[in-house]
Amino acid sequence: MQTKNMNEKKIKNIFVQGPVMATFIADSIQKHSTKTEIGGHSIFLGQVRADLIGNKRVAAIEYSAYEEMALEKMHEIRESIFAKHHLTCMHVYQSLGKVEAGEISLFVFTSSPHRKQAIEACTEIVEKIKNELPVWGKEIFEDKTYQWKTNK
């Protein structure tokens, strides 16, 4: 059990309740000004779209997750990304709960001495998050009915 506890210690939380705020993103960027080996940051932000589905407009997405499994999977993804790309750091935040159309539900942030590594890693992380993390979005229409989202 000792080993298990040690591994769990390294597992970072990625979940935030509700939308990711622009001020949170700014703080996260600002914190990197002391890491003067960084030459490029790549950021991806997922924003909730007010899609028209049939004749109904999406007003919000409500996110839920199998949190423990998602964090373990994210830990694996993190280790594979650091093994493959020369990154200085990597941060991921995924919303849980309700995120209104126009708000941000995913924030992926990679930094590296040289731009190519940061950009490639960021793109790869986003694809892995969409395909491999047990997270579900419920599209809530303006009339309060809903449907379950499907990722492309």
Partner: protein
């Protein structure tokens, strides 16, 4: 043996619960069969099974110490 199964996403809607109990099952193939008999709606639903937080396939042994979950297609991000 009695196993507890955690449901996520639209599976909670389809089955109407977030946890179900299945009796007399000790492998994944039997579990799938019992689930489809008890909840025919699952036949039309895509999902994968996670055992102890890993997606599994094929027929594996199950015990009541395993954490078993049914996961519909992911749609985070």
């Amino acid at each position: 043996m009695n196993v507890e199964i955690i449901l996520f996403g639209q599976l909670k809607d389809i089955i109407g619960k977030s946890i179900i109990n299945v009796n007399d099952v000790d492998n994944l193939a039997d579990l799938q069969k019992i689930l489809q008999q008890s909840y025919p709606a699952l036949l039309n639903t895509k999902f994968v099974v996670a055992v102890d937080r890993k997606i599994v396939s094929g027929n594996i042994k199950l015990s009541n110490k395993n954490e078993i979950a049914l996961l519909p297609p992911f749609s985070g991000g």
